[in-house]
Amino acid sequence: MSKLDNKKMLACCANGAGSSLMMEKAVDKVLKKYNVKVAELRHCPVSEGKSAARNYDVVLCARTFAKNFDDAQKAGTVIIPLKNVMSAKEIEDALKAEGLLD
């Protein structure tokens, strides 16, 4: 069992159409590699994600948007800011650093 099994994950970008979708696909690649089955993985714009974030266990975003999720972070959501939203490697390393992947 991975710590990410049955967790809810959200990827956010400005418009919810470009880089958040890229992040979702990159996350999906990492989850498959580790054979993790999350309860939910979706993407949306930051404007929507800001209030929805606290209902998710993990939120990924380009690092420029991380500050939008301070409240969710206080409520216990793990925020993962990324330099390169397409990098499965960066996502994998970040999830490991948070202790969510072994």
Binding site: A14, N15, A17, G18, L21, M22, K25, T64, S87
Partner: protein, 160 residues
């Protein structure tokens, strides 16, 4: 099925620019092939510029790649499509708030109104944007044929 790059060439959704441009001009020029092919309205570029002004140059990735876009079902989008502008000069987007220089030569402009086609485009673009030899070959391209040759020479890995 045709790849994103094949569709760009088949539908003439590409252009080349030799002279220097500021980033706003680059976004406007990058939209022109999509305007000419009836994919977006002539004013579509204004929404993209507004987004960058609001959120910063987050549409510029590593390796001189930019992906100008707005949201799905944005106003003025008629066809889900990708356009490619190859700028011979580096376009400067300044620095982001972390002090990283944001520069681009390849502009993959997105228009989206059909979610499944759009997802397919994004998946393929992710493969292109992480294929450095292909990006380098595209930056040197001077014709549609060069674009196709670049892809044939440096194919992207197939997504399962």
């Amino acid at each position: 099925m045709a790849t994103v790059l094949q569709k760009i060439v088949e539908n003439h959704r590409y252009c080349f620019v030799d002279e220097e441009m500021d980033w706003k001009e680059a976004i406007r020029r990058g939209c022109i092939p999509l305007v000419e092919d009836g994919c977006v309205d002539p004013d579509y570029y204004k929404q993209i510029i507004e987004c960058v002004e609001k959120y910063g140059p987050y549409i510029v990735f590593d390796d001189y790649v930019a992906m100008p876009h707005t949201q799905e079902n944005a106003e003025g989008v008629k066809k889900t499509s990708v356009g490619l502008m190859i700028s011979k000069k580096i376009v400067d987007f300044g620095e982001d708030e972390f002090g990283d220089k944001k520069e681009a030569k390849l502009f993959f402009t997105l228009a989206a109104c059909n979610p499944s086609e759009h997802i397919d485009n994004i998946v393929q673009l992710t493969s292109i944007f992480t294929n450095i030899p292909l990006l380098e070959a595209l930056a040197k391209a001077e014709s549609g044929e060069d674009i196709l040759k670049a892809e044939a020479e440096f194919p992207c890995e197939e997504e399962e």
